[in-house]
Subunit: 79 residues, 2 copies
Amino acid sequence: MTVDPDSVVPLFEQIAELLRADIKSGKLPRGRRVPSELSLCQEFDVSRDTVRKSIRLLRDEELVVTRAGKGTFVAELKR
Amino acid sequence: MTVDPDSVVPLFEQIAELLRADIKSGKLPRGRRVPSELSLCQEFDVSRDTVRKSIRLLRDEELVVTRAGKGTFVAELKR
DNA sequence: AAATATTTGTACGTATGTATG
DNA sequence: GCATACATACGTACAAATATT
């Protein structure tokens, strides 16, 4: 999966959409930890700021829950 | 009004609480523009990032609405 | 138990783009 | 064109919570 820095769609939205797709498809099943912010930075070659904005979107949608020191996990409910 | 950088309460939450209080008290009435990010940065001597986090909280609570190039305004409804 | 590594949280700074006045 | 204001995106540093060794 890849991301287009020249798209009118902001990077953080593109990344959120990719993660969203992985969640909805079951590639990232309930309870599974989402890759760490750092690894997402590396995977998509973006800043942590951008990754965190993506994750915040998913959190606002209650697709994931985040716990300090642990990680971000695919939500158990709401799907 | 002031803010305490040594508090356990994050700066962005402290600032959000001050703005929230101004809204609820009517000091910032419906439709009124909230001070710009820059002026809030100066008033509280914090970074723009911190100010934006505060405003995001209020936006999540639907207390304010933000429009690019215009400003952030106290929401008309929901109060 | 203690030190280390990992992961998220907060906070700062800068640059550039877009929308509005 | 210019000034103001918010949006996106990059970077850094350190703190706090949790894992691992």
